[in-house]
Amino acid sequence: MVQERPLRLLVGKVGLDGHDRGAKIIARALRDAGMEVVYTGLHQTPEMVVETALQEDVDAIALSILSGAHNYLFPRVLELLRERGAEDIPVFGGGIIPEEDIPGLKQAGIKEIFTPGSSTRDIVEWVRTHIKPRGWNTDAPQERT
């Protein structure tokens, strides 16, 4: 019997935005739900976030942006993941993001956007349903390094 390993997620604050209340709450809620969480801290560039995600070998990236720079920062992270051949790491996020911007972000490849008022339960549930351990192959679990 193979025990599925816990999900490993990166929660990140990208750009100059210092509003970290939401990011910290999400990080804790995911951790309390049994997941491993790497929190980047503040003022990360997209490059730094991608670098950390690769080094920490995470299953997904969750980004919090409340500064209005989401239309630049989200796609930039996706672009860098592609450049590093890591486009299989799903990216989702949340913040002050107008409804009208969400379809464009999803089209760019962001898996989900949570706006103000989302409950941590819904977010945890969404992660459980949509994020799978990367590179996890039940036939050969021992090959994971």
């Binding site: 750009g15 100059l16 935005d17 210092g18 509003h19 970290d20 209340r21 910290k24 709450i25 990080a27 804790r28 809620a29 951790r31 969480v37 929190y39 801290g41 503040l42 003022h43 560039t45 500064s67 209005g68 720079a69 239309n71 630049y72 920062l73 930039r76 002050i96 107008p98 409804e99 706006t115 103000p116 008022g117 409950s119 941590t120 339960r121």
Partner: protein
């Protein structure tokens, strides 16, 4: 059994306990209380009934309240409060380029607003230029982009600086922006002694809550004391620091934490000023405060009243201030942005009204009412007008401004005020036992307390133990979406062009000379404001000026607390 035989005779209880046994017990049998937990939004338990007994045996009107305009100012800092002059209605505004914000300012002044309040964009708040790589996507989004004096000249074009009071929400680079304001005044021919306004300039709460910093706490405090000294000599009407609880609360603190951490920050600035050799009465009258007004009506009122009394006592008893103006806690209030909901956004108008009323009953000196669309984007002109009208209706239709401190003497309000004070003092003592606020910040103490409170609150909401209308109760599928303000990508391009033009037109040697002189001053003891003003006048950028001090002061890295 006297009196009880007479039919219809009413005999009242003589104590709360007697009432509980005589009347309450029976009443609860017929009608049990709602199953809700009766606690404030911060989790403070609230009793069923307050009576004189709840004030305790040593409660005295003179010691706890006194008269308005007199120590300890519990009932307000002015004798006549709003009968003399209404609070200043000051809506925070700023977006895009200086040209666009200037137009919004002129609109607000025409609509009867009585003071300006500048919101800067994130790169400016972090002391970075619009062409800094980290500024990509952020230019002009959350506020106005200011790179050089040229932008500041545009921002205040046709606004005579001797006739408005201007509040500038800026912290890490506050001294630089202030120098730009002084330079604009000089160009308009306005004497510095006539300038009125407020600089937020509260770096400690940045480390605690808002997280917009450049240098570590200790050199940052030096810049602040230099600014206090400069203003005491040259700009006497300027409020040098707006010691802010607002952001602490927005980051998720309780009301008591907001009160305690803000006053602890204030004590740190006063101590720093005294240690820098300033006379406490020379700078303390120009310190002001900035609080949040959240959903819990009475808790907020109690917080404001407790704040005034606590500050007065600290200033007089601990620091020996003699000037009554040093004892007075003057404050600006902003309604709680974090309380607004993206769901059914028009409900936010009602929330803002209740919060604004709490600020007024708490005796605020100025007020910003949030716009209904602030969880969606920066406010539209229509939304900001409703927010301003909310204040005007409270001021001129509701009658609440007719008398001083109308809630003073309410058993509930006084008991809650006492309790806020007690609990905040406990926190302040803990912080002082750690070696003061700077040491507490370095140890991550206030950051951790706030994160804990924020998480606790979120769980209560998620589990339905705290109701948020439209979010976890009374939800609707179809929601009216207000029109929102959109900042186009052209703002960034325009600002970059403008910055390039200014850089091309300035005297580069003068810039370099001024920056070198500033750095030299930072290595010694000289007041930094003079050399900084020279940099500004040479059209050095905010980023150039701030980074010229990094080799001397270093940069701050937060030890992340989860």
């Amino acid at each position: 059994m006297e009196g009880s035989s007479k039919p219809g005779a009413v005999r009242g209880a003589r104590s709360k306990r007697e009432w509980e046994q005589r009347t309450l017990r029976e009443a609860l049998r017929h009608q049990p209380e709602r199953p809700d937990s009766f606690t404030t939004v911060s989790g403070m338990p609230i009793e069923r009934l307050y009576t004189p007994e709840d004030l305790g045996p040593d409660w005295s009107y003179d010691a706890r309240l006194g008269y308005p305009g007199e120590y300890p100012f519990t009932r307000g800092i002015h004798a006549t409060m709003y009968r003399g002059r209404l609070w200043t209605m000051r809506q925070f505004a700023g977006f895009g380029t200086a040209r666009e914000t200037n137009a919004r300012f002129r609109y607000l002044l025409q609509q009867g607003q009585t003071g300006l309040s500048v919101a800067f964009d994130l790169p400016t708040l972090m002391g970075r230029d619009s062409d800094d790589p980290l500024a990509r996507g952020e230019v002009g989004r959350e506020g106005v982009a200011i790179d050089t004096l040229a932008d500041m000249e545009t921002l205040f074009e046709s606004i005579p600086l001797d006739r408005v009071s201007t509040s500038m929400t800026i912290n890490a680079p506050a001294a630089v922006i202030f120098c730009m304001y002084l330079a604009v005044a000089e160009k308009q021919g306005v004497p510095l002694a006539k300038l009125r306004g407020t600089l937020q300039n509260d770096i400690l709460k940045e480390y605690i809550a808002q997280k917009e910093w450049i240098y570590p706490p200790r050199p940052s405090l030096r810049i602040i004391t230099d600014l206090m000294a400069f203003c005491a000599r040259h700009v006497p009407l300027w409020n040098t620091i707006s010691i802010s609880g607002y952001h602490i609360r927005e980051a998720g603190s309780t009301a008591v934490q907001e009160l305690a951490f803000t006053l602890a920050d204030g004590l740190t600035y006063v101590q720093a000023g005294i240690e820098a050799g300033l006379d406490v009465d020379a700078f303390a009258p120009r310190l002001s405060f900035f609080f949040n007004s959240h959903n819990d009506f009475f808790e907020e009122i109690a917080k404001f009243r407790a704040a005034r009394r606590m500050w007065a006592r600290f200033m007089r008893e601990r620091f020996g201030a003699q000037n009554p103006r040093s004892w007075m806690l003057r404050f600006h209030t902003q309604t709680a942005g974090c309380s607004l909901t993206a769901q059914q956004p028009y409900n936010n108008i009602v929330r803002v009204t209740v919060q604004a009323l709490a600020a007024i009953l708490g005796g605020t000196q100025s007020l910003h009412t949030n716009s209904l669309d602030e969880t969606l984007a920066l406010p539209s002109e229509q939304a900001v007008t409703i927010a301003l009208r909310t204040q005007q209706i409270l001021a001129e239709e509701s009658g609440v401004a007719h008398t001083v401190d109308p809630l003073g003497g309410s058993y509930f309000v006084e008991a809650l005020t006492d309790r806020m004070e007690r609990e905040a003092l406990d926190y302040i003592e803990r912080i002082e036992a750690m070696g003061g606020m700077v040491a507490a910040i370095e140890a991550g103490f206030p950051q951790r307390e706030i994160a804990e409170a924020a998480y606790r609150y979120q769980r209560e909401v998620d589990e339905g133990r705290k109701t948020i209308v439209g979010v976890n109760r009374y939800r609707m599928d179809e929601e009216a979406r207000p029109e929102i303000l959109r900042i186009g990508p052209e703002v960034e391009r325009l600002q970059l062009e403008r910055l390039a033009q200014v850089k091309a037109a300035r005297d580069e040697r003068r810039v370099q000379r001024a920056l070198a002189a500033l750095q030299q001053a930072a290595r010694g003891e000289e007041n930094l404001l003079g050399p900084m003003l020279e940099c500004v006048k040479a059209y050095a950028t905010v980023g150039e000026i701030c980074s010229s001090l990094v080799p001397v002061f270093g940069t701050y890295q937060e030890a992340t607390v989860l």
